[in-house]
Symmetry: C2
Subunit: 345 residues, 2 copies
DNA sequence: GCGGTTGATGATATCGCTAACATGCTTTCT
DNA sequence: AGAAAGCATGTTAGCGATATCATCAACCGC
């Protein structure tokens, strides 16, 4: 097979070829493929036979140029390696499948600069809407989006100045909820493990929520360990726990920025023969599968990642179709966060 | 902001607008954006100023129609939720970034029918190449691909009848390697945990490799537990282990189709107070992060997921650019698999 | 000083499809 | 019966970019 080679270019059949083959005009072929009921059954059959025989595949680049609808939705997540975000991506894809749109997926590695570049390169594809993670973006990114004139959904956060639509939750409050829940269970000496930089906005917000909640409870909130560049890994969670216990050996409960680091912390305890939760309790965030399966199972916060994606895609679809004024349409959807209490804390 | 609403359609500037603004022809604008050195500095500056002022963003749908290069690469994986495959996806994206192509990513949920549908809808976007997972596809999918006349890379496997290019490894042999390694460590009574159906081709191949290796070693190979629809989860690994020990309580080592199920099996042992590896040893496959972090750490097989993605994208880029006859170009790249010995087995 | 090369730019003709309107022809209504 | 409406299809004109060839200076070497 000579494919893609120079001179090996195959002349793919076009709609005109199909039309000729079926003895109709290209317009009828186009209709037969997109709105079959606009074409009589006999003609449609002839066209489909021609399509089959020639192995014709519609060219959507051409189609969307003419119809001004690309059928693309762009989505940008921090990382596709993180199952929380890939759950969101799944939610988006599943919702899109219903509306027949295709997903352009990109990841930023938690960098707003990379996000800006991604937004720019995706806008060149003329997506009909775009889904972002978080509310922090470069000024240029905001400008690009505003110029693009397409609906935008920010997710996983409740930005103070949203660009357009929002589907998310408050990371501060979700963390506050976790802290208060654990406080009610009797814990008093809280420690927090997170990443080193502010790059992970949601991580920073969770830390802020941790501090604020303890402050309101009148408890000390200085046991903060920063370890590793986000996304903070299991391994780094383990190292951070070691550091935590070294600095504050009497810490009662350690809350981690995510379940991955929480799991790392848990295994570090196991290596050191520290009992969880008897000696130290551990809680995470995100309700990853690992939290439900670890031994002991890890207390966490479920933020409904899949649902965020599904809702974001639905909102976008409605906005694209001009249903912003429909009853029940809300530009800002606050999703539910639940603390999942398990054995680890 | 009125976006996407009916009648709210913003008239985005086109290249002609930029051209007029800068007092040049559209062709010069096109050149300034794609091959800046073909345009004098003064003109280029004027054009860039116009681009900035108007907030112009290139329309690639239009561009690719005329240049017959879409800049798209399609990639299809079984699941983006599985970090092995999302590592491969990362490898692809990273390699593509160098060549400036954009990724169209889709997932099949381990169904060849869904794969066929995905291939069809992606081919409508006229990708310049396509990366698949595994060597099993529907006949129609094969036909679609062959008609498309673009390079194809099959990954994560060494298909007997490859469509075109291959970047992968033998799942049978990789599993055989693991079995022999554990055999050398003295284990004799082997059990295997995998999914129920043949949908996960790679899972089936690993099971076949398990059976074959034991057969060659003259050992019994009937301790096979099938549990759950692939991808088999941590939880299912746990349940499968319970079932294994019930049927064959004297099993010495349990090999799981992936590290996720291995981890589930491990935690089930911990719940039951069964010591790993003293009472039962456990090994997984894929070398996920969790294998390196669990306590005890899980023996696994590293298959270089990221590298598979990177190589696949590179191969594709070379094939697209007609470098098939370059020295060093191999249509079939066999990647390295290494057993990573840890405490669990 | 002149044929030839190089460099910067422009004019024109598509690329493959679909929107919008036009054309016949049949059906329906009053 | 004649006007109005409906159905199946065709015609025409782009969508927004780029390939290709053409143009016109400026420059180069001998």
């Amino acid at each position: 097979m000579d494919k893609g080679g120079p001179g090996g270019e195959i002349q793919r059949p076009t709609m005109a070829d199909v039309a000729q083959h079926a003895g109709v005009s290209t317009m009828t072929v186009s209709r037969a493929l997109k709105n079959p009921d606009l074409v009589s059954e006999a003609t449609r059959d002839r066209i489909m036979a021609a399509v089959d025989e020639l192995g014709y595949v519609l060219d959507q680049s051409a189609g969307s140029l003419s119809s001004r609808r690309t059928g693309f939705i762009a989505a940008i997540v921090p990382s596709i390696n993180n199952s929380n975000f890939s759950d969101t991506a799944r939610g988006i894809t599943d919702a899109l499948e219903e509306s027949g749109e295709q997903l352009l997926l990109g990841y930023t590695d938690y960098s707003v600069e990379k996000e800006e570049r991604l937004i720019e390169s995706m806008l060149r594809r003329r997506p009909e809407g775009i889904i972002l993670t978080g509310g922090r973006h470069t000024d240029r990114a905001r400008k690009l989006l505003s110029n693009a004139g397409i609906p935008v959904v920010e997710t996983w956060d409740l930005p103070a100045n949203p660009i357009d639509l929002v589907v998310g939750f408050s990371n501060e409050e979700a963390m506050g909820l976790l802290v208060r829940t654990l406080h009610q269970k009797g814990y008093r000496r809280f420690g927090y493990i997170g990443g080193t930089t502010e790059r992970d906005t949601r991580g920073s917000q969770r830390r802020a929520g941790f501090v604020e909640a303890l402050h309101q409870l009148g408890l000390p909130h200085d046991r903060l360990i920063s370890f590793g560049v986000p996304p903070i890994s299991m391994q780094q969670g383990a190292e951070a726990l070691a550091s935590m216990l070294e600095q504050w050996p009497d810490t009662e409960v350690v809350i981690c920025v995510s379940d991955l680091s929480a799991f790392g912390a848990l295994t570090e305890c196991q290596r050191r023969g520290i009992r969880v939760p008897e000696d130290v309790a551990i809680a995470g965030f995100g309700n990853y599968e690992i939290a439900a399966c670890a031994h002991p199972r890890i207390t966490s916060v479920d933020v409904g990642c899949y649902e965020i994606g599904r809702l974001a895609a639905q909102q976008l679809a409605q906005a694209i179709n001009g249903r912003r004024s429909d009853p029940g349409f809300r530009a800002r959807i606050v999703t539910d966060c639940k603390v999942v209490q398990r054995e680890s804390a």
